[in-house]
């Protein structure tokens, strides 16, 4: 019962969607139904008419012309409908792909990163990644209307001939369809169980083609290992294939036996009726054409139904994802006064789908214009901290206050305007250089280029290259940057955004000593008015900072200037000593 409910809900969503964007679809489906009905009825009349004419030795041209015209026109109608309804599912599917991506970019980050969603993106997109989803749903619904019309007409004609036979066929069809749907569900389940084999295969296939794995594959001579892995997978695949096809072969064999029984019963009935003189030879041939037509429509129709109900749950997952609300942009107007502070007030946080706290009762304040370093061991949650600050995550407990007002209450897009982040993983898009810096903002070329000069990319990119495409994905002559250069470029992007707070997550991890030194001096000297928060493992950088925050054990363990923390002789002192000892002169 619950399954039926899910099924109906999914189909309601699908039909609603077509009603919204493709109203004509329903018209073409209806017309298809009518045309098939007319066609199916008239085509079986032809052998009867012809034989009757032969028997009576008179040719009724008028009747022939009428019948043939009807057949020809209804046939054209069928084809026309097909031309019209086939691309509907295609268009809706492609529209959904775009909508899906829009959703990816618009829902709150914590929900997007929820493992329940992120690990399941594959499942969510299943109805749109292959034709055998949304697209086939609309196609097969439309096709079914035609086959259904033929089945109805056939039963109708049989009803006139022999009620018992008609009722028999009717009941047969219902049982037959039901059995088929059940079986196709079973096959779907078997296939689901084997899904992991294909996932593994996909993984191995990709690492052999992925250049970032190529060095390991070669240097560690992994060819043989790869071959063994691949062959095991292929064997598993064959075993699994055998299992599915064994089952579907069984169904096919049963299907043939069913058809044999059905045909025998129908032909025998016809023969008996013929010898009882209930029908003549002409009618007999009409009914035997009808039997063939019915058989054909039945197998096509059942196939349509199988496709339509095929894994209907997958639609639910997709629509549920679409129903997640976007980052809302309501709330108070965000005004950034001359003087401000952001205060973490007893903030606790854990990820969605996990109950392990990353932070417990976190308290600290960021004041305008300060340069703050966030220090801590790998995996302690430094990046999470800046994500909380930027409202990419919501605290599970406690509040973050901007001048005393909860940051959650501001208009999100205006609050975002406060921050210019450079994250650890740098994303350069296959757009032009300028678009990568400012996206589609109106922006003066010179000022944009100035940012590139500031970060030290002057030699790499010239002013007239602002329109050049980046990466080689779309343009073979595109601009390719190394790791260090990418880091600099991301910094330029942050500068261009001209926002008050720079947030830098390990900004110098790929920079050489000189570039690193320049970087910190620039930060110290050129961005006096900016508030800067950065995460770094290089404790040398902290000497530029007004404040140092040491994160450990779910909260801030130490907070103060470099000198204060050194005097404390705590964790910071220890870290600093470990790293600096190699630079001390006396030790050599």
């Amino acid at each position: 019962m619950k399954r039926l409910k899910i099924m109906i809900k999914s189909y309601k969503d699908l039909i609603k969607m077509a009603y919204k964007d493709e109203k004509m679809y329903f018209f073409w489906v209806m017309l298809n139904f009518i045309c098939y009905g007319v066609y199916g009825y008239s085509i079986i009349q032809v052998p009867r008419i012809v034989l009757e004419m032969l028997e009576s030795n008179t040719v009724n041209f008028e009747l022939l012309i009428i019948v043939f015209t009807i057949i020809f026109i209804s046939d054209l109608g069928i084809s026309l409908c097909k031309i019209k309804y086939t691309p509907v599912g295609y268009r809706i599917r492609y529209g959904l792909m775009l909508k899906y991506n829009e959703k990816n970019l618009s829902i709150p980050l914590d929900q997007y990163e929820d493992p329940k969603i992120l690990d399941n993106l594959w499942n969510i997109t299943r109805p749109i990644t292959s034709v055998n989803g949304v697209q086939f749903f609309y196609l097969h619904c439309a096709e079914f209307s035609g086959n259904f019309a033929i089945i109805l007409i056939s039963i109708g004609v049989l009803l006139k001939l022999n009620i018992i036979l008609a009722i028999f066929i009717f009941i047969w069809i219902i049982i037959y369809t039901f059995l088929n749907v059940l079986n196709s569900e079973k096959i779907g389940k078997i296939k689901d169980d084997g899904g992991s084999i294909y996932r593994k295969h996909f993984y191995f296939k990709n690492i052999s083609m992925d250049i970032s794995f190529a060095k390991e594959m070669r240097v560690f001579r992994l060819k043989n290992w790869f071959k063994i892995k691949m062959n095991t997978l292929l064997d598993d695949m064959e075993k699994f294939s055998k299992l599915t096809y064994k089952f579907s072969a069984k169904i096919m064999i049963l299907d043939n036996i069913y058809q044999f029984i059905r045909d025998s019963i129908m032909y025998i009935t016809l023969i008996i009726l013929y010898f009882d003189n209930k029908i003549n030879l002409a009618q007999f041939s009409m009914y035997s054409v009808l039997v063939m037509q019915l058989n054909n429509a039945l197998s096509l129709g059942v196939n349509n139904i199988k496709t339509i109900v095929n894994e209907y749950e997958k639609y639910t997952k997709m629509f549920d994802y679409f129903r997640i609300e976007n980052e809302d942009n309501k709330g108070l107007e965000f005004k950034c006064d001359n003087d401000w502070e952001i205060k973490f007030d007893n903030v606790s946080f854990h990820y969605l789908g996990s109950d392990k706290n990353i932070y417990e009762n976190l308290n600290f304040t960021i004041k305008k214009g300060k340069k703050i370093a966030v220090i801590g061991l790998n995996g302690v949650g430094k990046t999470t901290l800046i994500k909380l600050l930027m409202r990419l995550y919501k605290p599970t407990d406690g509040k973050i206050l901007f001048n005393g007002v909860d940051i959650q209450s501001f208009k999100l897009s205006e609050y975002y305007n406060l921050f210019a982040p450079v994250f650890q993983e740098i994303n350069l898009f296959a757009y032009s250089v300028k678009e990568n810096l400012v996206f589609d903002q109106e922006y003066d070329d010179k000022i944009a280029y100035d940012a590139l000069i500031q970060v030290g990319l002057k030699d790499k990119i010239s002013l007239d290259q602002l329109d050049k495409s980046m990466t080689k994905i779309i343009d073979e002559d595109g601009l390719l940057l190394s790791g260090g250069e990418s880091q600099k470029f991301a910094m330029a992007r942050a500068i261009c955004s001209n926002r008050q707070v720079l947030i830098l997550d390990e900004p110098t991890s790929a920079l050489d000593a000189i570039a690193e030194y320049d970087f910190y001096h620039k930060i110290n000297n050129d961005y006096k008015d900016k508030t800067i928060l950065f995460i770094s493992h290089r404790l040398a950088s902290t000497s530029f900072c007004d404040e140092i925050i040491l994160v450990d054990d779910k909260c801030i363990k130490e907070h103060g200037t470099h000198d204060q923390l050194m005097k404390l002789e705590g964790k910071y002192f220890e870290l600093y000593r470990v790293q600096s000892k190699y630079y001390q002169k006396e030790e050599s």
């Binding site: 032809v46 012809v50 032969l54 040719v59 020809f72 069928i78 097909k82 031309i83 268009r91 492609y94 775009l98 970019l105 980050l109 990163e113 993106l121 083609m209 970032s212 190529a214 060095k215 390991e216 240097v219 560690f220 001579r221 992994l222 060819k223 790869f226 063994i228 292929l234 695949m237 072969a249 096919m252 043939n256 044999f260 032909y267 013929y274 010898f275 030879l281 054409v289 061991l377 790998n378 975002y416 898009f429 296959a430 996206f439 080689k472 790791g483 955004s497 790929a510 050489d512 000593a513 000189i514 690193e516 493992h537 404790l539 950088s541 870290l575 600096s580 190699y582 001390q584 050599s588």
Partner: protein, 590 residues
């Protein structure tokens, strides 16, 4: 045509090798299916004939059932053979791809970086993987044979009645052929002219799906821009797709309408011809049936030939790729000594393929005896390039690299690489078990324990439920663990220790590690490089304190070379760099 045949021959040969029974099963299947077609031509005529004969009802019933039963038996055979064919064909496709994957591992590294080669690879794999070219070919080939037999058989039936009927059916088929050809040409031109646009569109779509862009996109409010960019190409993609469907349906429309016309023509012809008045009803039905089947067969054989041809065009790329791969092997024969004691760069000049700028120019460097060597220099000075050259991932444009005094190119690559352990800057951890990540195919528990201890990874191991059998990543096991950067680094080190090469290379081993983890790597460094020739690259000059020799590279040449103390005393580039980095630490000590 000749080219198509050679591709066909190649694919058949390959198929026969990968799945020996496949082709013979297809042949049997074809014969059975063709016999079914003829059974259905005869069935209505047969029933009417026995009805109009003087046979008894019971016998007639019996005969009809026997006829139906024979059809059933043939169909059962088809089901069984079909099962075998489906299994084989499903796995066959994967086998073909797997073979390409394995071949790829022999392809030289620089080829993988060339867009041209990767395009060729995509062109070879895509048709088999996603377009089903191979599957389609093997669906089309038996159908072509089947239709061909049908055409010949039906003509021999109809021929006895009237040759003109055959001629007219053929003429109608030809008209249909001309119509279809125009449609197909339109499709091909359309696909060609929009190829670049579509490539861009799919790239944009894939990009938007990538979770790693999520943060940037939100903070910099790039959503509208990203969508706008994709939408620029959306309409063109939709239009092409719609055109494709429209064309296909138009072809179907033409096919349907023409077959109705054939039906109309046949009935009219039979009725108008006065001779037919005396004709048996069953014969008339047979003729109509036969002619409709004939028309459908002629029509279908065209489509199948087109499909086969299209598949062969795609698979030609697969053949081309195979030829490319078999050509690309070059390997020496000298077995490498069990110990690497010297590396020498002699006048090496190197630029990356398809680029102008020389990364190394007349580069000379000799490292002998088992020293610890640090290579330092600014971003982009060619440090990592040197490592790629030593690993023979690239070959110098001129000059040579001597290992133990012998040109690297003369070595048997396998035996040489056995002696080399490298941890690359962007090393990769596979989504397999921890144990396998370290040992790969040759598992030795004792060595494994040792590697785990020395890399300090055993401390991490206790956090996982399944110990060394825990999976990393989620591709293979939903309970797989996601390792932190620091843990991954330790795992990579364990892998290197396990391999135990006599040449040890570390490229930026501590870039993303916190000070404690960095210190740990340094502490292990001595152990790791004991009795070995070792090279370490790092931006953190602290690592140089442990090295015997430091090599400073600038402008593609060795600028300075010597011990830390020597270079500090020289008060040159190295000393400047070191002091610069140290100043931040020393400042506050004063």
């Amino acid at each position: 045509m000749k080219k198509q045949l050679s591709v066909l021959f190649f694919v058949l040969k390959k198929t026969h090798r990968l799945a020996p029974s496949y082709i013979i099963l297809q042949c049997i299947q074809t014969v059975l299916e063709t016999s079914l077609i003829f059974a259905f031509i005869y069935l209505p005529a047969f029933i009417i004939e026995i009805l109009t004969s003087d046979m008894q009802v019971e016998i007639i019933k019996k005969q009809v059932i026997i006829f139906l039963f024979i059809i059933l038996v043939v169909r059962l055979f088809i089901s069984i053979i079909n099962k075998r064919i489906s299994i084989i064909s499903e796995v066959l496709q994967f086998k073909m791809i797997a073979e390409v994957n394995e071949q790829l591992l022999d392809v030289s590294y620089d080829k993988l970086e060339s867009p041209k080669f990767m395009d060729q690879l995509a062109n070879a794999v895509e048709p088999i993987d996603n377009l089903g070219a191979n599957t389609n070919l093997f669906l089309a080939l038996p159908k072509i044979i089947q239709h061909f037999i049908t055409i010949v058989g039906v003509i021999s039936i109809v021929y006895t009645y009237s040759i003109w009927v055959v001629v007219i059916v053929f003429m109608m088929s030809f008209a249909l052929f001309l119509f279809n050809k125009a449609r197909i040409n339109e499709e091909i031109n359309n696909a060609k002219s929009n190829f670049d646009q579509h490539k861009t569109y799919w790239y944009y779509l894939r990009m938007m799906k990538d979770p790693s862009i999520a943060k940037d996109v939100r903070l910099y409010k790039a959503q509208p821009f990203l969508l706008k960019k994709a939408k620029e190409y959306y309409q063109s993609v939709i239009d092409s797709g719609t055109l494709l469907y429209k064309n296909r349906d138009l072809r179907a429309l033409a096919g349907r309408s023409f077959s109705v016309l054939v039906l109309i023509f046949m009935y009219s012809y039979l009725l108008i011809n006065p001779n037919n008045v005396t004709m048996e009803a069953s014969y008339l039905i047979l003729l109509v049936n036969a002619c409709t089947t004939l028309f459908i067969a002629i029509n279908m054989i065209q489509t199948e030939l087109l499909t086969a041809n299209q598949s062969l065009v795609y698979l030609a790329q697969y053949l081309k790729f195979n030829e490319m791969v078999t050509l690309s092997k070059d390997d020496g024969t000298i077995k490498c000594d069990p110990e690497i004691t010297s590396i020498e760069f002699k006048d090496v000049t190197f630029a990356y393929p398809d680029t102008q700028k020389n990364i190394l120019e007349n580069f000379n460097l000799l490292i002998d005896s088992k020293q610890r060597v640090s290579i330092v220099g600014e971003n982009g000075c060619g440090k990592s390039t040197i490592i790629k050259l030593i690993a023979k991932l690239y070959i110098p444009c001129s000059g040579c690299i001597l290992i133990n005094g012998i040109d690297l190119n003369l070595y048997d690559y396998d035996s040489y690489l056995k002696q080399v352990s490298i941890i690359f800057q962007d090393f990769k951890i596979f989504d397999i078990s921890i144990k396998e990540n370290i040992t790969f195919e040759n598992n030795d528990d004792l060595k494994l324990m040792n590697a785990l201890q020395e890399s300090d990874f055993d401390k991490e191991l206790v956090k996982f439920n399944n110990g060394v059998d825990t999976f990393t990543g989620k591709a293979f096991d939903d309970n797989g663990v996601m390792l932190s950067k620091g843990q991954e680094q330790k795992l990579a080190i364990a892998r290197s220790i396990y391999k135990n090469g006599s040449l040890m290379i570390l490229d930026e081993p501590t870039a993303s590690l916190d000070p404690m983890a960095e210190e740990l790597v340094y502490q292990h460094f001595n152990q790791l490089t004991k009795d070995k020739l070792s090279i370490i690259i790092s931006h953190r000059l602290s690592s140089c304190r442990m090295s015997d020799v430091i090599v400073l590279i600038e402008d593609g040449k060795v600028k300075q070379l010597g011990s830390h103390q020597q270079l500090m005393n020289a008060k040159n580039s190295y000393a400047n760099m070191f002091n610069l980095q140290a100043s931040n630490y020393l400042q506050t000590q004063e």
